[in-house]
């Protein structure tokens, strides 16, 4: 009862404050603009990628009659579709390649990230919903809450309130509840817009997965704002003056949201080193040539294969084989190089994951990092989703090349590079269709951040409970 009264008082008082109205309206406006432009941006990108996928498919289907292996060299492209929620948080999408060129004999890295085509401006950050939610709303919360207790103390109203029978605890949680309502007023309209846009896009037939992702997204940010409100009011309760409270909170904000994330990135980079692009390529080629263990060189592998195939068909020279030996050789080679590529890219990605894990661990102390991680994960714009796309594109490439090599093997004799397949062969190869993994998969990848956020929340509430026992009254 008392708690609600205090909450109501804070809510009304804030709404009467012109300064807050201006700041709150500005943040709301930014949030709405970010939602709208993010959505437009997403739509145009999604459309472009879908068109590019179609034109890549059309180019594949439009091939004339040709040798299957020639088609493997012609190759095709896989374009990464934008996930539905990525308009809320662009995440890494700006910095990861948007397409992979799929061809025989080699795995290509994803190319064409938006960051390569951007001016230095992009490093200031992007105006996305996540940017506003992660950085600006906390700042708004700080401005809203820094005087929660100190002002009462400076105006000598704290004594009066407490002498009326309100406990410090009630006062504290009442204020928190009041401020939470204010922040809700700023955030909810934007989230409603986002949800409407999202579901209007799919003709209000969005999948349960998308809805669940959005729901969790909202939940994570609700918790995040809650932490900031509780923390800010607490700092105010423990500070000697409004000024000290404001300075402390701003210091925390700058350290947690601006400086520390960069520091973890730089630290991760120097702890877990990766080879230069040149050395990476060189080691890869050496493994293909000399064998993955260094004792199984390419020509020895070829000889061994020849012996095996000849024995299998019971003939004693390649020319007597009923199938095209070149097709078999190429498929075996493909298998081997794929293994080598998998090993090297796997090692590289492991190293990157280790660098990233530093940020995840720091998330236990810095909820900003945990929220950022979860937000990207739920939006499908994190590193794991990118790797998932790459893995699926690679699986598609391997199946495609295998199909071409097998065709080569069965439809012609060894040494015949001229025989062609008819045009309808191209349509028989399946199209590349990327399916976003489920929300459960995404959470599984980010369970550490979930844990970090929950633990931090628990610790904060516990710490606040203890810290409120001896709050100075004057």
């Amino acid at each position: 009862m008392m708690l609600q009264l205090i909450a109501q008082k804070e809510f009304t008082a804030t709404l009467r404050d012109r300064r807050f109205l201006v700041a709150g309206a500005l943040v709301l406006l930014l949030l709405l603009v970010a939602t709208w432009t993010g959505f437009r941006n997403y739509q145009s990108l999604a459309q472009k990628r879908a068109e590019a996928n179609q034109s890549a498919r059309a180019a594949w289907l439009g091939q004339p009659e040709k040798n299957p292996h020639s088609a493997a060299h012609y190759g095709t492209f896989a374009f990464r579709p934008k996930s539905d929620l990525s308009f809320l948080d662009f995440g890494l999408d700006t910095y990861t390649g948007s397409s992979v060129y799929l061809e025989g004999h080699r795995q290509n890295d994803a190319k064409f990230s938006a960051a390569e085509d951007a001016t230095s401006l992009i490093r200031f950050g992007e105006m996305t919903v996540a940017f506003v939610l992660q950085l600006l709303i906390p700042l708004l919360i700080i401005f809203l809450c820094f005087g929660a207790f100190t002002q009462e103390r400076e105006e000598n109203t704290l004594n009066i309130l407490l002498s009326q029978g309100a406990s410090v605890q009630t006062l504290f949680w009442g204020k928190v509840a009041g401020f939470a309502r204010v922040i809700g007023l700023v955030v909810v309209p934007a989230l409603l817009l986002a949800a409407t846009l999202l579901f209007a896009q799919t003709g209000f037939q969005g999948t349960a997965d998308t809805a669940l992702r959005l729901g969790l997204f909202v939940l994570v940010y609700t918790l995040y704002f809650g932490l900031f409100i509780i923390g800010s009011v607490f700092v105010s309760a423990r500070s000697t003056s409004s000024r000290a409270s404001l300075l402390t909170l701003l210091g925390i904000w700058i350290a947690a949201c601006i400086a520390l994330p960069k520091a973890t990135a730089n630290l991760g980079e120097s702890l877990f080193k990766v080879p230069s692009s040149y050395v990476f390529q060189k080691e890869l080629h050496e493994d293909v040539e000399k064998g993955i263990d260094g004792h199984n060189p390419e020509d020895a592998r070829a000889k061994e294969l020849e012996k095996r195939v000849l024995a299998q068909y019971g003939v004693d020279s390649v020319s007597q084989l009923p199938v095209n030996f070149d097709g078999i050789v190429m498929q075996e080679g493909e298998k081997y190089t794929s293994m080598v590529y998998q090993k090297h890219f796997g090692e590289l990605q492991n190293q990157f994951q280790k660098q990233n894990s530093l940020a995840t661990i720091t998330g236990f102390l810095n909820p900003y990092l945990a929220v950022r991680d979860l937000s990207m994960g739920l939006s499908g714009s994190d590193y794991d989703h990118f790797l998932d796309f790459k893995a699926k594109a690679e699986a598609y490439r391997f199946a495609l090349v295998e199909r071409l090599n097998n065709q080569m093997k069965v439809f012609s004799k060894t040494g015949d590079w001229e025989k062609t397949v008819s045009r309808d062969f191209w349509a028989k190869t399946p199209n590349f269709q990327y399916q976003l993994p489920s929300v459960g998969w995404a959470l599984g990848r980010h369970w550490l951040s979930v844990l970090a956020l929950l633990l931090f929340s628990g610790a904060l509430v516990w710490g606040v409970g203890r810290g409120l026992k001896d709050v100075p009254l004057v």
């Binding site: 300064r19 910095y95 390569e116 001016t119 200031f124 105006m127 700042l139 300075l247 990157f352 940020a359």
Partner: protein, 450 residues
């Protein structure tokens, strides 16, 4: 008086902590810069050492066919990293500083990215430019937001006003002391940078230092102006932090968003798709028209005639050439759009000091988009020179052994685009003067409003 003001300012614990923290952040940024420069140097060392070995190996493996050697042989062009880039890493971590190309189609090779962790790219570096552009203003705000308002709030301002013969001079001294302290810190860090990163004391460095000082002056101007509004300390703090927020987070992000939608770039992709088509479909076409088109581009090679064997290197490289030729329009459009983006950002920079500082520091450190575009242009020229050198040798099947492969060393691109000192230094000076002047006028008008 100045001496006393200085002593009373520096005695505060908060001031010492602030200075210490920023000094530490500055040191960390220098170490990160050192690490970055070392990595760059190691990468180019690797490539330089390897090119010779690799070329000899290709020549040994394919002793009879120079066309085949050049199918494999890669030639590197290094975008020289000036020591200043350690202070402002800019886009150098996104864009590779080394291009390794074969003489085959260029468009497919031009946009190869480096091995980068996208998460780290998103978070960015704590380089010196970050410390300067984000953190220095915060220190300046912390030092000045209550310089005068606090005296009013403590009731000491009346005494100062009554006892001072030259109140305006006193206010100026109050700010000058703080300015001197902040500038000393900046210069100490820059001095250390010269030592740690081995920066030559040349024109770009002094302009870099000048831009940094100019940026600090802009913030002092802003703080001076806010102080002249005679608001309470709390309001000053909120106002200044809001300005910081707008200049460093909201405006840059908003403008970036605007540019992305105003100058969209489908062309990067279109170029590769077109290039691939231009090259590959030639395999299934008769040779004559392809070679004829090739001769239309390079009439000097006409004497080599039209090949009549099933496979021929002239035909092969003509097909590769067609990939580039047929995607030339898309490639040009892409380049033009990128240049537009760069130009528009610079134009915005003239109005927004934070953008101007970042763009100019990157430009001076040769780590911005401008440098990258010039490097790509040089890569194109480098590739063309290689082609013109090797084409006749391939077409006449020049003996592989006769070629002096060791002469094909790694080439370096040094960006020598002219620097306009006025363009770099004037905008921040004008901003500093504008706000400083506005503050001065305000103070003169309301000097004795106590």
């Amino acid at each position: 008086m100045l001496n006393l003001l200085f002593r009373s300012f520096i005695r505060s614990m908060g001031v010492k902590i602030g200075l210490g923290f920023l000094f530490l952040a500055g040191l960390v940024s220098l170490l990160i810069g050192r690490q970055f420069l070392d990595r760059q140097a190691r990468n180019s060392r690797d490539v330089i050492a390897a090119q010779r070995v690799d070329l000899e190996r290709h020549a040994r493996f394919h002793p009879d066919e120079i066309g085949l050697v050049l199918y494999y042989a890669q030639f590197a062009l290094v975008n020289q990293t000036p020591a200043l880039a350690g202070l402002s890493i800019g886009q150098r971590d996104v864009n590779p500083s080394i291009q390794r190309v074969t003489i085959r189609g260029l468009e497919a090779q031009k946009y190869d990215a480096d091995l980068n962790n996208p998460t780290n790219l998103l978070l960015g570096n704590i380089d010196f430019s970050f410390v300067l552009i984000y953190l220095f203003p915060l220190l300046i705000i912390a030092f000045t937001y209550s310089a005068i308002s606090e005296e009013r709030e403590n009731g000491t301002w009346r005494m100062v006003a009554v006892q001072s013969r030259n109140l305006l001079g006193f206010i100026a001294q109050l700010f000058l002391v703080r300015l001197a302290v902040v500038l000393s810190l900046l210069l100490v860090l820059l001095g250390l940078a010269v030592v740690v990163l081995g920066i030559p004391l040349d024109g770009p460095f002094f302009l870099f230092a000048g831009t940094s000082v100019g940026y600090v002056l802009v913030w002092f101007g802003l703080c001076f102006w806010v102080a002249s509004l005679h608001r309470p300390s709390g309001t000053n703090a909120v106002l200044l932090i809001t300005i910081w927020l707008v200049l460093l987070l909201i405006l840059p992000a908003g403008i970036n968003q605007y540019m992305l939608s105003r100058y969209p770039l489908p062309e990067a992709l279109a170029t590769t798709v077109k290039q691939r088509k231009g090259y590959h479909e030639k395999w299934d076409m008769p040779k004559e028209p392809t070679v004829a088109k090739f001769y239309a581009h390079y009439p000097q090679f006409r004497p080599f005639g039209i090949p009549n064997t099933t496979f021929n290197w002239l035909w092969y490289y003509a097909m590769q050439q067609m990939g580039d030729d047929e995607s030339a329009r898309e490639s040009g459009e892409l380049r033009q759009k990128l240049q537009q983006r760069e130009a528009v950002s610079h134009a915005f920079g003239l109005l927004i000091p934070s953008l101007h500082a970042q763009l100019q520091l990157n430009e001076l450190a040769q780590s911005g988009l401008g440098n990258q575009l010039r490097f790509l242009d040089e890569t194109t020229r480098f590739h063309e020179r290689l082609r013109l050198y090797f084409y006749p040798k391939i077409f006449s099947n020049y003996p592989v052994k006769a070629e002096r492969w060791d002469r094909h060393t790694v080439k370096t691109f040094s960006d020598c685009s002219p620097i306009r000192a006025g363009y770099v230094l004037l905008p921040p000076m004008l901003f500093g003067l504008l706000f400083g002047g506005l503050g001065w006028l305000n103070f003169r008008r309301n000097l004795y409003v106590l």
